[in-house]
């Protein structure tokens, strides 16, 4: 590397000005980001230290809301459910996505574009609409049960979202359905960046399709896997729409997640400060997970 030109007294001002210029380019984005993301975020953290019903005057709460968050029985159930959703929202879609992407990329066929579009379709639907559709699919006399009956498995038919055992995986499967397309697309773009000569070389070393996938494809898309994991993991821990629309957290508390609890605290019991405390704890947990994944991605280099 070249050493930086020594800073003379004459060049210093010029240099400073040049250092400053890039920030000007960032400024509009930074202003918008601060106004709509950072300030509300800070405000929500600030509100978490107050008892506030959303309308009237607030009273200082100190850490009381945080104490309440950690002594809430429902919350531990909600957190456990949210963490479990990582399997449905992140792990299965990334594994499935990697396999599908490898198959699609291996030999471009006619119709690949269509497959990609169809797989990505869930991403462009509002999650509320996704929830409404799946609630219908899962209902007692919905298409899934009709299909089961038609193929002689009527005994397995049930109101899936009302079942204490099946409601959770049923809601999780909706997450898988939504996330998989995104993972396929992300990982496909990663695979297409891999130098074809690597595959040639591996083939010369008598690598089969499985070997190619394990030794060339997977290492080549590590960065994309990290991105896919990060995005879907946030979706899992911060899940709300799908759960709220399909089960509302039921039956019992089987599918309750922190997002639904936060919503209830704000709109049902008007405990806005407590809701903000819970939201802050949730974002802290998400940040820890995102940092961990980022680290994993780097350490395997």
């Amino acid at each position: 590397m070249f050493a930086r030109a020594p800073r003379g007294t004459s060049g210093s001002r010029e240099q400073k000005k040049r250092d400053f210029v890039p920030y000007l380019y960032v400024l509009p984005a930074l202003v918008a980001y601060s106004l709509f993301i950072l300030v509300p975020w800070a405000q929500s953290i600030w509100t978490s230290f107050w008892h506030w019903d959303g309308i009237g005057a607030a009273t200082w709460a100190g850490l009381e809301n945080y104490v309440a968050v950690f002594s809430n029985d429902d919350l531990s159930i909600a957190l456990r459910n949210g963490l479990g959703f990582i399997i449905f929202y992140s792990v299965i879609p990334v594994v499935l996505g990697a396999l599908l992407a490898a198959v699609i990329a291996a030999r471009p066929r006619r119709g690949t574009g269509l497959v990609r579009t169809v797989l990505f379709l869930p991403q462009i639907l509002p999650l509320v609409a996704v929830g409404v559709i799946w609630r219908y699919l899962y209902s007692a006399d919905g298409p899934i049960n009709q299909t089961l009956s038609a193929i002689g498995l009527g005994g397995a038919a049930r109101a899936w979202l009302g079942d204490f055992v099946w409601a959770y995986p049923a809601v999780g499967a909706v997450g898988t359905w939504v996330s998989t397309g995104l993972c396929v697309l992300l990982l496909l773009s990663g695979i297409q960046k891999i130098d074809p000569s690597l595959y040639e070389a591996a083939k010369l070393d008598r690598c089969g399709p499985v070997g190619l996938f394990m030794h060339v494809t997977l290492p080549g898309i590590r960065k994309e896997v990290v991105v896919a994991l990060t995005v879907t993991l946030i979706a899992a821990l911060a899940s709300f729409d799908i759960v709220y629309v399909t089960t509302g957290g039921g039956p019992g508390l089987q599918t309750i997640v922190p997002g639904v609890l936060i919503y209830r605290l704000v709109f049902t019991s008007n405990e806005v400060g407590l809701a903000c405390a819970l939201a802050t704890v949730l974002s802290a947990i998400i940040l820890v997970f995102v940092a961990l994944i980022g680290r994993l991605g780097r350490e395997q280099t």
Binding site: V39, F164, G248
Partner: protein
């Protein structure tokens, strides 16, 4: 960007954000009121426009009443608007505290609205117009709020005036009853034997959808028909020292469990996976002898079952029903509270009552509630009259606290699926209650 620098920037920006917002969230002053006007039934002779906000379900009859009111008061114009139930409840307090506050609002719960003085006390108007003599006391008590802002009932300040009433009772399929040779049950024993006979005759005894927690209706009705309406109301209104853990409520919760065990209701998964509308659809398609539901579904049931649709009050020691009124309140920011109160008073007129009855609500003026005997509407009018005669109307347990609906929903779902015991259920309900109303 280097990570440490990034984190530093975030910290710095957050700190800046805190400085920007370094004051208590929310309003610091009490709700500013509109023009201070003494309560009077002498109305302005100038042109006055009142804005009114409601929901489609509750507001249809009210909207239809406006023309008759405007004909009587040519200088008063009422602008009606509506939003769906859930959006309405989320936005009503924000609307009331905004500069563009509507004058008259549908009030679904007193909670935060009354606590923040967003609506005005109506006692002066009740005296002026004689509402206390017109309405049976338990029809207004639901909107009377004590000083503490959470206890309801007798002696509290009145904050809303009823437009019409809904009632929860028992629908039954007359065709099934006839084929099974079952008479309309009048006692608990009759009811139980009717259920057993239906089961033996291959008819589902009770249609039920508990996806949204409506099994709580059965628990409440069974409990209060044993304990009587007064005891049940005291708990629902949050009176000091009340408990949900009574022998009557324990028996009522056990009843639900027994029904599930005996197959009197569909299997637990189907019950918990079906919402109220799904259950109504099943019922009108002939699945079920009984259905516990509110008269808001009377139109649908009448249309689906025709002459086979019947309705009774829940059979028990005491004749009771669960009921609430569609009620309206006046914004603290209204500049025309007297004219708004005149409209509230108009809601008990014959014209308004007819509109309510037509939309399926029990009207403020019972004399307009006339229906042919033997029809579903005739049955409902009879049941309403019986309950009124015994002063048996009790407010919804679901409204006992802001969170009670969620608690009853998950509680009954667990109970039916055998995931919790009757004691667990009673404890969780009482714990929720105690959080709002004290031990």
């Amino acid at each position: 960007m280097h990570h440490r620098t990034f984190l530093h920037s975030v910290a710095a920006l957050s700190a800046a954000g805190l400085f920007l917002t370094a004051c208590a969230p929310g309003g610091t002053t009490a709700a500013t009121t509109g023009d201070q006007v003494a309560a009077s039934d002498e109305l302005s002779t100038e042109e006055v426009t009142l804005t009114l906000m409601s929901t489609p379900e509750s507001g249809a009859a009210t909207e239809a009443t406006i023309a008759a009111f405007e004909a009587e008061h040519p200088n008063i114009n009422i602008a009606y608007s509506q939003t769906n139930y859930e959006d309405y409840n989320q936005s009503v307090n924000l609307n009331l505290s905004s500069d563009e506050s509507p004058d008259v609002v549908l009030l679904n719960a007193v909670g935060n609205t009354v606590k923040n003085d967003l609506v005005i006390p109506l006692d002066d108007y009740a005296d002026l117009y004689g509402w206390n003599d017109f309405f049976p006391s338990n029809q207004l008590n639901q909107w009377r709020v004590a000083e503490n802002g959470s206890t309801l009932g007798d002696g509290g300040t009145l904050f809303a005036a009823p437009a019409g009433f809904s009632l929860v009772g028992v629908y039954y399929n007359k065709k099934h009853a006839e084929e099974l040779g079952i008479d309309t049950p009048e006692t608990v024993e009759d009811f139980e034997s009717a259920l057993a006979e239906a089961k033996a005759g291959g008819v589902l005894p009770v249609q039920l959808g508990n996806g949204e927690g409506h099994a709580a209706f059965i628990v409440q009705l069974a409990g209060q028909s044993a304990s009587g309406a007064d005891a049940a109301s005291a708990w629902a209104f949050g009176h000091e020292g009340q408990s949900f853990d009574t022998p009557e409520n324990a028996a009522a919760a056990q009843l639900l469990v027994d029904w599930a065990d005996a197959g009197y209701i569909p299997d637990a998964t189907t019950v918990n996976g079906t919402d109220l509308q799904g259950a109504v659809e099943n019922f009108v398609s002939g699945e079920g002898l009984f259905l516990v539901d509110g008269i808001w579904d009377a139109g649908k049931v009448a249309e689906g079952l025709g002459e086979d649709a019947g309705f009774i009050a829940f059979p028990g020691e005491n004749t009771t029903g669960i009921g609430t009124s569609v009620a309206y309140a006046i914004s603290s920011r209204s500049d025309h509270p007297n004219e708004a109160a005149a409209f509230l008073d108009f809601l008990r007129s014959a014209e308004a009552s007819e509109q309510q009855f037509e939309q399926g609500f029990m009207p403020n003026d019972p004399s307009v509630a006339v229906a042919d005997a033997g029809t579903l509407q005739g049955d409902i009018v009879d049941a309403w009259a019986q309950i009124a005669a015994e002063n048996g109307l009790v407010a919804f347990n679901n409204n006992a606290t802001a969170t009670m609906n969620d608690t009853l929903k998950s509680g009954t779902q667990q109970l039916i699926a055998g995931q919790s015991t009757v004691d667990d259920f009673l404890d969780s309900v009482q714990a929720d209650w105690a959080k709002t109303h004290g031990q």
